[in-house]
Symmetry: C2
Subunit: 394 residues, 2 copies
DNA sequence: CTGTGTTTCTTCGGGACCCGAAGAAACGCA
DNA sequence: TGCGTTTCTTCGGGTCCCGAAGAAACACAG
């Protein structure tokens, strides 16, 4: 219930309340006006007024009489929900081993999902172009109206400056330094676009629909080819100066470790990423190539594979422990390809956190694996897109 | 310009705007209505109305005609400022080698300052009691009205649960586990009281009046007997779950270091605190007892002393580097007794940060020494007290 | 000294907003 | 069928912010 700092006055208050109602509806799904009044604290009168206004503009619909079983006395309410509007938003995950796409309407309903292989490591432009193709194609395939697309959010493996949308650094997309992918995507597709760090988006996704629902302070750690973190602090995504927060992969984990691509020595990524885990594993299983291979071996009870996962978890937990000491979050959510073997990973991270934090801190921090799997980033992108569009609120 | 989430409606909007005006006045000191209107975005009409209301209730006063030189055409404005109200707040620093006290009125003017030795390490109740005595005495000495005291904020070296005000843990105040000092202080003095972590308060102080003015993301690191951090993220104090954020002193800095009081090994505190620095120094200068001794030696160009400070700075910088990777703040402000030798400390911390972070991150982070010296905590406490009281705003 | 332009601040009226009270509607239950 | 209960709308009142217009105070030019 905060008023945008530029606006002021009565109409701003109205917008603010409108946003509150929409937020409440997104959380609840389907509620009566009376419940809405109770959950927002606004009077029934105001809710009625807002609802009829929003209903007239097509943002919400009145579905049916409330059938919440029987036994409840009193007149049943009429249920309200966000209308399956024509307006669309899209989320794209450009950071994984395949390009993922999800299209949703403003009510949060996913209308379409698609993906395409992304065996184009380092070729950023190629990936971006393929993503645009995929988006175009999917819109046609699912018979959606192209003119209704309002906003696209793209997640990439790299740091994106929050201010000007430029890529500050990306290990994966070579030559993207100072490049503005959002601008390029806008020109290519004509869609308003925003680019964010993939781990940041995944954090948003997990908080909205995954393991971090309702949590105020949470750290999401993605362990895939690289390692990155997304921070939700005081209920909001924390990006840091120039969006550079969460670069946990380059915390030094071993004084005398290998040289990392970043120029330092012993970065966490050189020890605990999926790539380095597979490299270790190949000493015993020369055929192990993918995260899937590793997970299969773990599932079959292979000791070496389990050890590799545990080692990665211990190293990550060691780094996270420092983070826990400093931030004291409520929960750590683990994601990325390494979570194909969730149990040993979570156990290892937990024990490491307990070992390296003060007891009163470590014992209060939950550790959990993603519940959205490889979709946390796309879904987070969709979430952010929906939010951005409906906070302009007409 | 955010509305408190419990209230709603027109009066909430009014309160919100009132708070905006008060905040603007606190920042600006003395401005005309017209300037106020421009800086807040509220219309001149509204400003006029708010000003006359606040003026009637005695919160602000109209001082004089605007004498901002000449050469300016047009009717001069009438200057407004926060009235040197009778209402008082107090800040107390219980974490240092002496107990410090500052009393201010709601306009932010410091009315009285005092301090008393605190050579009572570990005796928490004794310290708290002495602080109450000091407060009582100072009120009398400066001829202040005891009944006008509205709020007291106390900083202690320990973690305070934000919710219930209880001490979660304090290395310094033995037996304070689960104790609620604010309650005790209220009963002893009859003043509404709040207890916070000292580094958190110091961070607020530096941000309001010190090296971090106007900064949105800042990390304050206090290096004294212990080491602690205070985090200001997105412009607001970040406390973490149960207020446990900022426990940087117990990040493991050396795998095979000494056992720390917290039960782990090689904590930063065992390496870089003033106590451990002095211990190292005594190998060469057996007489060195206090931070002052160390600083004097550094000033006289003593190599061993400079080395000790540099070593501490390097270790702290090493730990901060991980924090920079994760949070990407704008500035690191160093405080505590170790900053009696600011230059070698800042240099060491800087070089360590540059060494252990990725270049695009480390090179953008400023490192600075406190500009408030040993007063950052008290002044931060006063700041928080003033804020808390005037946001209730009558 | 007198106009003119400029800036500041107040007054007045209009419009927007939220809320409480009262009433109509829909349901369960006796 | 009547009563209690809950939901939702309507109506009137009060509060709030804003734009326009006007009064006031000053610099400056003639």
């Amino acid at each position: 219930m905060s008023i945008g700092s530029q606006q002021t006055g009565l109409t701003a208050l109205r917008s603010s309340n409108r946003a509150v109602v929409i937020q409440a509806l997104r959380r609840a799904g389907e509620v009566s006006r009376a419940e809405l009044s109770r959950s927002t604290g606004l009077s029934g009168t105001t809710i009625s007024s807002l609802v009829s206004e929003l209903s007239a503009s097509g943002v919400i619909t009145e579905t049916a009489r409330d059938d919440r079983g029987s036994g409840r006395t009193g007149r049943p309410g009429r249920l309200i929900r966000l209308a399956p509007t024509n307006e669309l938003v899209a989320g794209i995950d450009l950071a994984g081993s395949e390009i993922q796409l999800a299209i949703a309407d403003l009510s949060g309903r996913i209308c379409a999902q698609a993906s395409t292989p992304a065996d184009i490591d380092g070729a950023g432009m190629e990936a971006l172009s393929r993503a645009a193709d995929l988006l175009d194609r999917t819109i046609v395939d699912f018979d959606l109206d192209r003119t209704q697309m309002r906003y696209v959010v793209i997640g990439i493996a790299g740091i994106v400056d929050t201010m000007d949308g430029r890529v500050v650094v990306s290990d994966r997309m070579h030559g993207w330094q100072d490049f503005n992918p959002a601008e390029w995507f806008l020109e290519r597709t004509s869609f308003a676009t925003r680019v964010e760090n993939d781990a940041d988006l995944a954090a948003l996704g997990e908080r909205a629909r995954g393991a971090g629902r309702g949590v105020m302070d949470m750290v999401f750690v993605k362990i895939s080819a690289g390692i990155g973190a997304g921070l939700v602090l005081s209920g909001q995504l924390y990006r840091g100066r120039h969006g550079a927060a969460g670069e946990i992969g380059h915390v030094q984990a071993r004084e005398d470790g290998e040289i990392c691509s970043c120029g330092n020595r012993g970065c966490l990524e050189t020890i605990a990423s999926v790539n380095s885990a597979l490299q270790s594993l190949r000493a015993v299983h020369p055929g192990a190539r993918t995260a899937r291979d590793l997970a299969d071996l773990v599932e079959s009870g292979d000791r070496a594979a389990m050890r590799v996962v545990a080692d990665a978890g211990l190293a990550v937990g060691r780094a996270i422990a420092d983070l826990c000491n400093t931030l004291a979050p409520e929960i750590i959510v683990l994601g990325g390809e390494m979570t194909m073997s969730p149990t040993p990973l979570v156990d290892a991270v937990s024990s490491s956190i307990l070992r390296y934090t003060r007891p009163h801190i470590g014992s209060r921090i939950k550790v959990a694996a993603t519940t959205l799997g490889t979709q946390s980033c796309v879904l987070g992108a969709v979430e952010l897109a929906t939010d951005s569009v409906s906070s302009f609120a007409d």
